[in-house]
Amino acid sequence: MFVRDMMRSPVTTLSVGATLGEAYALFEAHGFRHLPVLDQGRVVGVLSDRDLRFATSSFCLTPHTAGDPVTLAMSTHVLTADPLDPVEDAAKIMREHKIGCLPVVDGGELVGILTGMDLLDALISLTGVTKPTSRLEVALTDKPGELARLTAYLAERNVNIHSILTAPAPDGLVHTVLRVGSNQIRPLAEAMRAADFDVLWPLPKPWPH
């Protein structure tokens, strides 16, 4: 999954000549929280709704007013992403720098914007919870071929896997969470236990059956 798959495009922007009042109108009308500021097509800053609220608040030493230019309130140290960056790398940059968006630049031109909300969309999409699915959790031994054994077992039964997440666990195990497109995972889990898989969810029935 690349930045270009999750970014918003086209982007609403401000020019360096825009005023804080014009920016406020855009935030209010569209629910935006970040607006890139352009100087002749080049990204020179990002104005967030928090930048604007602070710059115009009484807590600011020299509060600005609606007629002042956006350049007085915007953040000028702008980090950008490339459309072909993997989305997880973009997430890491935003987290490390504690920023809410990355303007996406291709050949010097602004082509999109990636925000924290878009990363949540990416997370939901990657974990496969956008479709009717069942959650299956299996503890695999951390050695080559175990994941292949699991997916081959499901493929033989024509069970479609919507997502796979793995997390390291103690004792040399890997906890593997799958979202699979089937309503019948309890009978499946029973068969998997018989085939020597350590199924963590669903649990066996607690009463004799």
């Binding site: 309503n183 019948q184 009978p187 607690p206």
Partner: protein, 378 residues
């Protein structure tokens, strides 16, 4: 009295011998009721038309079902529509078979609209997972949604109540933004169980805030917690919404021995629920009630649960013993654990560990749900 709807064509909705949603479940219930001496005179409905199906389903989806049914397209083409999966295998005649089930539920709605009947039990249907353009979870066409749409077109405000083990996602999605339809679903939490939705935050679209109500319960939730949650949420929801008809999906897979899930209700819990639903329809829905079947995959359980449902709906006294002839005829299907009586033994299973933690979580869920809904219902 009430009207019973059923016809032999329902048995055509059959995904094959290995599939849990088998029509023999219906055959077993009918035979049980007849063996108990019930005066069965089911009304045979007309089959639903293509236009009826199209009232809630997308043209491309219906066209794909028909084309696959006739073998005119490759089976792999059905995948984007959820057709040809382990849950929804393709079988010849599936379009017509599903339209019979829809026809039954729709006919029940029409009886309510005509004022001919206040209580209808559709002995079949309940295909609550079917989406606008996608078959899901054993469900091809959404009979409940077609019936609800007809009731809405007639001018009724309609409440939908779903006591199946699984979230009633298809019906909820189809009417999520519809202010004339309220959907209420109690189910094992989507954090654990298919289809993964039905969370308390799903409260209706922007045009219909407060009209979608979900009560997700912890795995191994038993009768006490379940009925407590039902009482805390359902009467209040109906009192606010003031429906003119109540449509109920009465799946029996929330039973403790169901092979597809982890809720822990008994036939006694189901009886209490059925009687409460009948009373609520009278007090909160102008006495108009349409019940369908639904999920339920343990043969001996669904036969007993739905026989109890029939007796409750028809105001008949509950028999105690299961007829020996019926037990003998269905011996192979029922398995060894069926016993000799209609209800489960009491207690039905040994006490489950973690009861206190489970109850606390269930009460938390209900409290948070009501906190979210109250401002929307104000």
């Amino acid at each position: 009295m009430a009207t019973l709807i059923h016809c032999p064509e329902y048995a055509g909705y059959d995904f094959g011998p290995e599939h849990p949603f088998t029509p023999s479940r219906l055959g077993m219930v009918l035979d049980l009721l007849e063996s108990l001496g019930c005066p069965l005179a089911p009304v045979a409905p007309p089959v639903a038309t293509r236009e009826d199906i199209r009232s809630v389903h997308a043209e491309a989806f219906v066209a794909m079902v028909e084309a696959l049914d006739r073998g005119e397209v490759e089976r792999s083409k059905g995948e984007p529509f959820g057709l040809g999966t382990p849950d929804n295998p393709i079988f010849p005649g599936m379009d017509l078979a599903a339209r019979w089930l829809v026809g039954g539920t729709l006919h029940g709605a029409r009886l309510l609209m005509a004022g001919a009947e206040g209580r209808v039990l559709q002995l079949g249907g309940g295909l609550h997972h079917a989406q606008r353009a996608r078959a899901e979870g054993f469900c091809l066409y959404n009979d409940l949604a077609v019936a609800i749409q007809a009731l809405v077109d007639h001018g009724f405000r309609v409440a939908y109540l779903d006591i199946d083990l699984h979230h009633g996602d298809g019906v909820q999605n189809l009417f999520y933004d519809h202010p004339q339809v309220m959907t209420i679903s109690l189910h094992e939490s989507g954090h654990y169980l298919y289809p993964g939705t039905g969370h308390i935050q799903e409260t209706g679209g922007t045009l219909a805030p407060g009209t979608s109500v979900n009560v997700p319960l912890e795995p191994f939730t038993g009768a006490g917690d379940y009925l407590e949650a039902f009482e805390a949420v359902v009467p209040a929801a109906l009192a606010w919404f003031k429906p003119q008809a109540l449509v109920v999906q009465a799946g029996a897979d929330a039973h403790f021995s169901d092979p597809l899930g982890d809720l822990a209700l008994t036939t006694q819990t189901f009886e209490a629920l059925y009687r409460r639903i009948l009373a609520l329809a009278d007090s909160h829905a102008d006495g108009r009630l349409l019940l369908t079947l639904g999920g339920g995959y343990e043969a001996q359980v669904v036969a007993r649960a739905w026989a109890i449902l029939y007796h409750a709906v028809m105001d008949l006294p509950l028999p105690e013993a299961l007829p020996p002839g019926w037990l003998a005829r269905w011996k192979d299907t029922l398995g060894p654990e069926v016993g000799q009586v209609l209800h489960d033994p009491d207690p039905a299973f040994p006490p489950l560990a973690g009861h206190e933690a489970r109850t606390r979580r269930n009460r938390d869920i209900v409290a948070r749900l009501l906190d979210t809904l109250r401002p929307l219902w104000a």
